[in-house]
């Protein structure tokens, strides 16, 4: 820490840090545009000027840009000096010269960084009376709206999109006063992270197009902290609601998880909440007509009670249901009758991943920490499509070598202009071994393409090259052996090497090889990390509840041991072959489905009970790194919907099972869970209990300027409605309550005096860009304090079948492979067709070309798909669009036949 003087008063600031960052961290207000904590400094907009003095006797000083100054002991500056204030006011006046006077019709209005900075810089009246330059806007696809006239040329959009996120279809054109930010031509922004432009743009050039469809000002939005449900990373989100519908998702900063950003699936997937596929009423099948008919919940509960009384009841949980809901189901049916509901491969890989983490074989960095890795090896995962934000983090990791080289030349790491000049010349090592081409290939040093077995063998060869005591891999091709040596060398020489794997190629041996490499590295370098991605929002949490594999449920049904199945928020047709699920359904006399969307499984249920999705429920999700995180409802569920755990508690109470009658709040369930699972004690610490108060007050979900609440339901009733009550959390559905500084896990929105935009976040962080004040929310549930890791033995090589067999491997798409987000209209607009990816010569062999229909058949399933020829696919391999809408489940990877004709 260095002592710096601001207005002649001493303050502590971290040496070498950026001065603007340090001043903001100390609580000072300095306006800025081109700077962004995640994007670094370029010193372009000239807005963050301060005065710098040589020493105590210097009275004149010199105007400098605070974002380009380094904190050093004895630095003396003034923010309030009249000359520099005037300078800042004139800069913003100039930036605003062409800015339209359209705040009242601009989507950014009320949460606009430009508005805030204009007020902060003191440019209150416009003097520019002349013609303003105008532009044509572009159609940028379903996510982002474009309104170029509002641009103030801060360049943040291209710096984020191109330099940070690796996108290549957003550019800056022209020069002078007609600079244009957009695509080369109209068309959908291709980057998976384009939605962040809405938050990165300081004004209304790039705004959320889904919000526009049901627009609401920030001050009229009721918000709550939530956790993304669309992959296993558990990015933190802020969910905002008005008139009973969710209007948008913003990134909720978590210094250990997603930082400032979100992927587009996480940001725009929320529209599924208003999908026509939502189930909102309890329903029962009419035994005579066979049709589902809405029924009174009491009547349904009575039927369920009778079914349960009949015995032989099993429960099937779900990796997309909260820990609480899964636990409640386990309690209802008993641990012996509780099945996890994951597919066989998911089940195996989740368990393996938890086992590896518990073994403490290496360090397990958080998502955000992976940005700091300086050599990365990805095994079998197309991270952009399975764990998108990890791809964004890895794109940062490849810049660390250039950053180190800057450091050697005494250029600070935050000097982004310098970094961008050299980042492409000294890219850090990133090795990608995958089944099929991945979206990260463009950032990779080297790419290896092979079957799961080949990837695992490469991995074991790397492990051997790191530690020669590990078994060597025999019969390796020379090129592969050389690659293994190179990867091992880079990982060994790195100061923070990282191995990434996961469930992406549905192969245990691949994950085991990754663990071996990480363990071998960690034996000599404690910073060596392993990051394992898991497919769903609560895969890990469900894995901790020791449910049995779904296959065993099917086997029991086969033996006639299952009379009734209660299926929680799970579409079994996504987990197992259609034939087997159909058979299971026939074998169960009663099937009760609890879900919030109408799935193929729900369509065959006898009874349906509507549960509440994340925006209408509270619960805990455990992400891929074992971090338990609480999500809060932003509104009360409507009609018959209830959070899964509450619905199950009602059933138990009605059926008189156990002490469930006492489960009235989520805290009761968590207490029950902790009593049964001592390992999950951390659940209590994730968030404050419902009775938590600050000075006797709750934390309001509505901002101080929330309008119209006395008349919101005036069309139904002229009296003001009583706000919904919340017994599950310290939050309230109201404007009243304690505003400043709730504990981080409870923060419902970022807002601070003078800071109405997303940058109000500055006031909630202990240090700008660092952890939130009070610590980042979430608790790692699995510790690895002691090491008990035993290296995995290389898996035997499975023989290649002869004849016309192809290795069918799954491929996933960020837009398409996830069950809920595909129901969002904006996401649906981005789903590629259901295509079988093949190599050209393979396609030719079966007489197929681009678009021709072929029949794919593996042991228990088959499908007809159109072919897409992709030169990146190895010969003898075909990519199957796993989990895409309308695509049948196959247990992959598997050998199968492909024949021409549907």
């Amino acid at each position: 820490m260095a002592i710096i003087y601001i207005e002649n008063k001493p303050y502590q600031a971290p040496e070498g840090k950026n001065l603007l960052n340090a001043c903001l961290s100390l609580g000072f207000n300095i306006p800025y545009f081109c700077w962004h904590p995640a994007l670094g400094s370029v010193g372009a907009c000239r807005q963050c000027a301060v005065k710098k003095y040589r020493d105590e006797s210097d009275t004149r000083g010199q105007i400098v840009m605070s974002c380009m100054e380094q904190v050093a002991g004895g630095l003396r500056i003034s923010i309030d000096d009249p000359e520099v204030r005037e300078f800042r006011a004139s800069i913003i006046e100039w930036l605003m010269a062409n800015h339209p006077h359209d705040c009242p019709v601009c989507d950014e209005g009320g949460e606009c960084h430009l508005q805030d900075m204009t007020v902060m810089a003191g440019h209150a009246y416009r003097r520019y009376r002349f013609k303003k330059r105008t532009y044509a806007n572009q159609e940028l696809g379903p996510f982002i709206n474009h309104e170029m006239n509002r641009c103030i040329q801060c360049y943040r959009c291209v710096r984020f999109y191109r330099d940070y996120a690796g996108g290549r279809d957003l550019e800056v054109f022209s020069a002078h006063d007609h600079v244009y930010f957009g695509r080369h031509d109209h068309g959908t922004l291709e980057s998976e992270f384009s939605g962040n432009l809405a938050e990165v743009c300081p004004t209304g050039v790039f705004t959320d197009k889904t919000l526009k469809k049901h627009y609401t000002r920030k001050w009229d939005l009721q918000s709550a902290a939530s956790v993304c449900v669309h992959c296993g990373l558990g990015c933190n989100t802020l969910v905002a609601e008005r008139y009973g519908s969710v209007r948008r998702i913003l990134s909720r900063y978590n210094g250990a998880v997603n930082g400032y950003f979100l992927c587009d699936r996480g940001r725009f997937g929320y529209e599924f909440l208003s999908s026509a596929k939502r189930i909102r009423r309890a329903a029962k099948r009419n035994s005579a007509s066979g049709a589902m008919e809405p029924a009174d919940k009491k009547i349904i509960l009575r039927s369920i009670k009778e079914i349960i009384a009949g015995g032989r009841v099993i429960g099937i949980g779900s990796p997309r249901a909260s820990v609480e809901s899964n636990f409640a189901l386990r309690r209802l049916v008993g641990p012996d009758n509780f099945y996890s509901g994951m597919s066989a491969a998911e089940e195996e890989l989740t368990a393996l991943s938890i086992r590896i983490m518990k073994s403490g074989c290496a360090s397990f960095p958080s998502l955000r920490e992976t940005e700091k890795a300086d050599a990365v090896f990805v095994l079998g995962e197309d991270v952009t499509n399975t764990a998108p934000m990890l791809a964004l983090a890895l794109r940062q990791s490849v810049k660390n070598r250039a950053a180190a080289s800057l450091k050697k030349n005494r250029i600070p790491e935050w000097d982004n202009g310098s970094l961008c000049v050299i980042k492409d010349e000294e890219p850090g090592p990133l090795f990608v071994a995958s089944l099929l081409p991945t979206r990260l290939d463009d950032a990779a040093t080297r790419i290896f393409r092979g079957s799961p077995t080949q990837i695992a063998r490469l991995g074991q060869a790397v492990a051997h090259a790191v530690n020669e005591n590990l078994p060597a891999v025999s019969g390796l091709e020379q090129a592969v052996a050389k690659l293994a040596e190179e990867i091992a060398r880079e990982l060994t020489e790195a100061s923070a090497p990282l191995v990434v794997s996961g469930a992406g190629c549905l192969s245990g041996p691949v994950m085991e090889a990754a663990a071996n490499i990480a363990a071998a590295l960690a034996a000599v370098n404690p910073r060596a990390g392993l990051f394992l991605a898991l497919p769903e929002s609560n895969s890990f949490g469900l894995g901790l509840l020791s449910g049995k594999p779904l296959d065993q449920a099917f086997q029991r049904a086969e033996k006639g041991e299952v009379r009734a199945a209660i299926i929680l928020e799970n579409d079994l047709y996504r987990r197992s072959e259609k034939k087997r699920v159909d058979r299971f359904r026939e074998q169960c006399r009663h099937v009760i489905v609890l879900d919030f969307i109408d799935t193929a499984t729900a369509a065959k249920a006898e009874i349906i009970l509507p549960t509440a999705p994340f925006a209408e429920a509270d619960g805990t999700l455990v992400n891929n790194e074992g971090r338990g995180q609480r999500f809060y409802r932003v509104m009360d569920p409507e009609e018959d919907c209830r959070p899964g755990w509450r619905m199950l508690a009602e059933i138990m109470e009605y059926a008189g099972i156990g002490d469930a009658g006492q489960w009235t709040t989520i805290d009761d369930i968590i207490a029950g869970l902790c009593a049964e699972e001592p390992e999950l004690q951390g659940m209590r610490e994730i968030a404050p209990p419902a009775e938590f108060r600050i000075y006797g007050q709750r934390v309001p979900r509505q901002p101080h300027r929330y309008s119209g609440r006395t008349a919101m339901k005036a069309h139904e009733d002229i009296h003001e409605h009583k706000p919904a009550l919340d017994f599950d959390s310290p939050l309230t559905f109201s404007m009243e309550g304690f505003r400043s500084g709730p504990p981080p896990s409870l923060i419902p929105f970022y807002w601070s005096a003078g800071w109405n935009s997303v940058h109000a976040l500055n006031k909630f962080q202990a240090e700008i860009g660092g952890p939130l004040r009070g610590g980042d929310p979430g608790i790692r549930m699995v510790g690895s304090s002691h090491k008990n890791f035993e290296y995995f033995k290389p898996a035997p090589v499975t023989p290649t079948p002869g004849g016309r067999e192809y290795l069918l491997v799954p491929y996933f798409r960020i837009f398409g492979s996830e069950e809920l987000s595909v129901l969002s209209p904006s996401i649906a607009g981005r789903i590629p067709g259901n295509l079988l990816l093949m190599n050209e010569s393979d396609a030719k062999r079966i007489g197929a070309g681009n678009g021709s229909l072929v029949r794919v058949a593996v042991a228990d399933a088959g499908a007809s798909l159109a072919v897409k020829i992709d030169p990146g696919i190895p010969e003898g391999v075909a990519g199957y669009p796993a989990g895409m809408p309308g695509v049948e489940f196959m247990n992959l990877p598997a050998w199968g036949a492909i024949t021409e004709g549907g």
């Binding site: 290549r168 550019e171 800056v172 054109f173 020069a175 080369h184 492409d424 010349e425």
Partner: protein, 154 residues
């Protein structure tokens, strides 16, 4: 279509460049030299040849005012509007040129003979005001001299 000779020249230049990005300006210049301007079709072909997205190439092309993204006349008149030339009578010169050619800066005469382009500095402040037609510099000009000079360019 990019011609064989253009591609060869571009590739030779690219080999000298640090990276593809650095080679983009020269590639645009090579193509423009033969065709006078960069059409959309040429831009797409060039981007494919260089292996960069068209937007990235166009970002460079549109930044430089001497890379033309619209057809230009047979002769390009650059008129220097830097401070020195302005002090020494650039405005009169520009007015006269515009009147004579019947075009505003940035436009091309209807017969396709001249395009008038303002330029930030031609680097001859000591001999201001200056214009440049194609590769020829004309300095210390008065409006009266323009007729004779323009006459030399058919």
């Amino acid at each position: 279509m990019l011609e064989e000779i253009e591609m060869r020249e571009i590739d030779e230049d690219r080999a000298r460049c640090h990276n593809t990005r650095a080679g983009m300006i020269e590639a645009l210049k090579i193509v423009q030299r033969r065709r006078g301007w960069i059409s959309d079709d040429v831009l797409y072909e060039l981007s494919a040849h260089l292996g960069v997205p068209p937007g990235e190439l166009d970002s460079v092309a549109t930044f430089y005012n001497l890379i033309f993204r619209k057809p230009v006349g047979r002769h390009r008149i650059l008129i220097c509007d830097s401070v020195t030339c302005w002090v020494m009578g650039e405005e009169d010169l520009k007015r006269r040129l515009s009147e004579k050619l019947g075009i505003a800066p940035g436009e091309t005469t209807r017969d396709g003979r001249f395009t008038l382009v303002p330029n930030a500095c031609l680097g001859v402040c000591d001999r201001a005001p200056a214009i440049m037609i194609d590769d020829d510099l004309h300095t210390g000009l008065t409006p009266a001299q323009l007729d004779a000079i323009l006459g030399r360019y058919e």
